[in-house]
Amino acid sequence: MNKIKKILIANRGEIAIRVMRTCRELDIETVAIYSEADRTSLHVRYAHEAYYVGKAPSSESYLNIEKIIEIAKKSGADAIHPGYGFLSENASFARRCAVEGIIFIGPSPEVIVQMGDKIQARDAMKKAGIPVVPGTEGEIKSEQEALEIIKEIGLPVMIKASAGGGGKGMRLVKNEADVVSSVRAARSEAKAAFGDDAVYIEKYITSPHHIEFQILADQHGNTVHLFERECSVQRRHQKMIEETPSPLMTAELRNEMGQAAVEAAKAVNYVGAGTIEFLVDNDLNYYFLEMNTRLQVEHPITERVTGIDLVKQQIHVAEGQPLDFAQEDLKQQGHAIECRVYAEDPDNNFMPSAGKVYKISDPLGFGVRTDGYVYEGYEIPIYYDPMISKLIVWGKTRDEAIGRMRRALYEYKITGVKTSIKMLERVMKNENFIQGNYDTHFIEKNQEQLMGKDQTKDPEDMVIIAAFIDYLDKLSAVSTNQKEFVPAQSRWKKIPYVNHF
């Protein structure tokens, strides 16, 4: 067993800080890397050490394997935590770490390769007896093959990139006439995004629920699951809101799917924290979708209901420690919901909104957690993910959690950039969401309420008065003849005494 003393975090943003927090709690020194755009990012200021890694585009910085390894060696880091995204599912990087004698906090390069390729992953799961979505056995060789397969499994189908992720290289086909053109389009998109045009075909599940299971495995053969996360509220195939427990789940199905997730992990000798994603239909049939061989963005809701710090477990597993709990020690306590806050304009097709953050008020109090990284005056770089933070709440019941999320969203104020906060608030007031009655088409199906003008009577006249006073205030700063108005003298208008009606 190898006590880790210093960890390089090969990432930026909220997840870099998330990892560093646990490191500080464990008295582990932290090494940050930063691109040219990130010199003043919070992860640089939070870390014990920080080194420049390259130009702003990630290909020249956060994806620069050579440079990152060089920094790790220079700083004497024992281990590298890759976070999510960037190099977190890059087998070459994991292999380089092994070669250099640096602990890669994640699974083996072999597992990353195997689970990173959707066709290989599907094969492995079928062999382990995990249900998969009906479809091609592997990459399709021709459009003709596609047509034949589709005759077998029936329409609608989904064409997917073998190397894919994040919704890229995906095409839904409802009519036979569209098969050929859709296969071509998916191929070219896949080629552009991943440098690999292999695609495969899957039956398309109507009213699908995206439900995933968190698993954790040590180096001694112990594997447990930490229950499900319901991730069906998505926009453009990107998750927006996650919750646990899933409103769809039954105790029997949880048990069955949890065991399937553990079997899936064991089938590939998985080590570390990972996630098995499933599609579940309205009849509670479930199908293996893919495995993420890293920490997920939405891991905090699992932490909250189980009480397990997943980053701490990742580090302990990487050190060779056995898990200090078994499946029967784990319980879901209460209900947790996560909302992702993006710098984007929900009223304008979720267009990213870069810019300078003017002011932030974080929501606080009982049952509220935020994992973020931006601060007042911070200029959100245009090069990376538009996610500003994650707002996680917990309640004894789902109703309490929803009420608490509404309260937290009320408190959360980020000005200067457009954010998804208002949109998230509308979801928390949506009747279907409140009933737990939703699938991955939630946003399209509830467009009217989610995108519509709010009916709240807003204090428009008070805004007018505020702007007017600010105007008079600035005016009197340039003109001493302005006798009508006495401007504010300090942060808060300082007058000898405060008047009251």
Partner: protein
Amino acid sequence: MAVQIKIGDRLAWVNLLKQDGNLLEVEVDGKKYEVDLMHTADGTFSILEGGHSYDIELVPDETPKKYTAYTLYETHNVEVIDAEARYLQNRNANGAAAAESKITSPMPGKVVKVLVSEGDPVQQGETVVIISAMKMESEYKAPKDGVVKKVFVKADDTVDSNQVLIELE
């Protein structure tokens, strides 16, 4: 002093009727409000009106007199349209306005530069004086061809609204 304020699609007249420290009597489109208004220099407003508590954040735009306002859950685009703004608007609409021989300041400000001297010939549309108000510099142009009869201001002077700056012959 009354100005117009544009909020979304609405254009409202607003006027300060009375001030007693933080207690203001303000009229918005003819409706009178008694408000207890406290604010910070960087745009945090706490307004109490009829007992209700409003917390408003104003974020200044790059363009002066424009704001983004954040309330409970809403975001508003707000613009103050004062005499200067209307003057500039009209001027832009009509080209150089009527055959006025006097150039006046539409609002209080500070003279940045006077570009002409008495006796100078000027052409219509030529900038004769630059005034700064609220971080913004505005160029005031000759409304017609002519000769400068009198210059009433010099650089760094503070000017009131409707004060005559330059008279042409």
